[in-house]
């Protein structure tokens, strides 16, 4: 019996040591940037998107996204008449090189730029078995490429198809909302390069952000609201046919 007791005491000591190493953390990177002062999202204006693909190209150059995979992409919707449930959609190479005119140009046609919605209740972080994808305190969903197993459960769990497995690193990858830029006071590469201002990085915690005025006077929508993910990419002028 004494042996068991000794074991027990040893166990508690080890557990305590493990816990200390967990809560100790590391000194924060020296910076004036305060994570808790921000809460990021994006505003998409469908009526301004011209489907030029600048955002897709800029993202791929800024973030070294491998060919054939997309952190952001643009879709083109074509709806003949009242068949809202049956849109014809295409996104050749993610819209990277623009869109060739369709044969049928009647009906309603428009572009929808997409990227990770940086959901506040994100299904992808929920399912990650090891904590390799997470919410930053400023509301960005990131992937820890040094810790990801490549199990791809997060890719399955994302309702919007925003994630992919990077074939070079064999780890999950997706839009980081250009975290390396926005924390330096810059905007994202896609927003920086959007020629029409169809996409705007927004900081909901910044009282001077024009988003607050915009939201008072415009009706906006998120993608797949029934997924209840608290998506933070708002769309103005979004058609009901968009999935």
């Amino acid at each position: 019996m004494s042996m068991t007791r000794r074991h027990f005491l040893l166990l508690t000591a080890v557990a305590a040591a493990a816990w200390d190493s967990i809560i100790a953390g590391t000194p924060e990177a020296a910076s004036t940037y305060n994570m808790t002062d921000h809460w990021y999202g994006m505003l998409m204006n469908i009526e301004k998107c011209i489907g030029c693909g600048s955002c897709v190209r800029a993202c791929q150059l800024e973030n070294k996204v491998p060919d054939g995979y997309f952190r952001t992409w643009v879709e083109r919707y074509h709806i003949e008449d009242w068949t809202v449930e049956n849109p014809t959609v295409d996104s050749p190479d993610g819209g990277k090189n623009g869109f060739v005119e369709l044969k049928e140009t009647g009906g309603k046609n428009f572009f929808v730029p997409k990227l990770c919605n940086h959901c506040a209740d994100s299904p992808c972080t929920q399912v990650c078995p090891v904590g390799a994808t997470f919410h930053t305190p400023d509301g960005v969903v990131l992937v820890d490429g040094k810790y990801c197993l490549g199990c791809r459960y997060c890719i399955q769990a994302c309702p919007y198809g925003c994630r992919f497995l990077n074939p070079a690193t064999n780890t999950a990858e997706k839009c980081s909302l250009c975290y390396h830029r926005i924390t330096k006071g810059l905007t994202t590469a896609c927003c920086e390069n959007c020629p029409t201002g169809a996409r705007q990085l927004v900081d909901f915690k910044n009282p001077n952000d024009p988003i607050h005025e915009f939201l008072k006077t415009h009706s906006v929508q998120v993608l797949k609201p029934y997924m209840a993910t608290k998506a933070k990419v708002y769309y103005y002028g979004l058609d009901g046919s968009v999935r």
């Binding site: 068991t4 557990a15 590391t26 990177a29 301004k48 930053t136 830029r181 390069n193």
Partner: protein, 160 residues
Amino acid sequence: MKDFKDAGHLFRLAAVFAAVFLIFLLVRAALVPKGFGKYGHFRAEAIAEAMDKPLNYAGHKACEDCHSDIVEVKSKGKHKGVNCESCHGPQEKHVEDPGSVVPAKLETTSLCPRCHTANAAKPKNFPQVIPEDHSGGVPCDTCHKPHTPVIEAEAAEVKK
């Protein structure tokens, strides 16, 4: 203790399990990354790593610091909202070393149609043309100045 006399083998088994569990805890304590759990269930350092990724696009503010003349010209034209690197490409290297990294001259025949080629899905009020019909291969900057693309004579005509 007499009751346990014939259950000795079970205690041995329990001891084996306890030992395995102990080793597991030790290994775990040694291997869990430092800073894990500081902000949530993840490696705190991953945030700093994400912040440290290198820039490719410098952002229009960096351009405007030096090229105030262009800003001045552009602010009067239709392209005032179009940021520099949207056409000129990523220029962080140029910002870091303006002397030796010089941005390439742009070829407007292929550049302008990226945005201005007619497409039914584009907003109706967005200026768009079928490039072959519009210029027949003549470079766009023959008539349009990219920084103030509306042709001045035409603009004057409209004003009258």
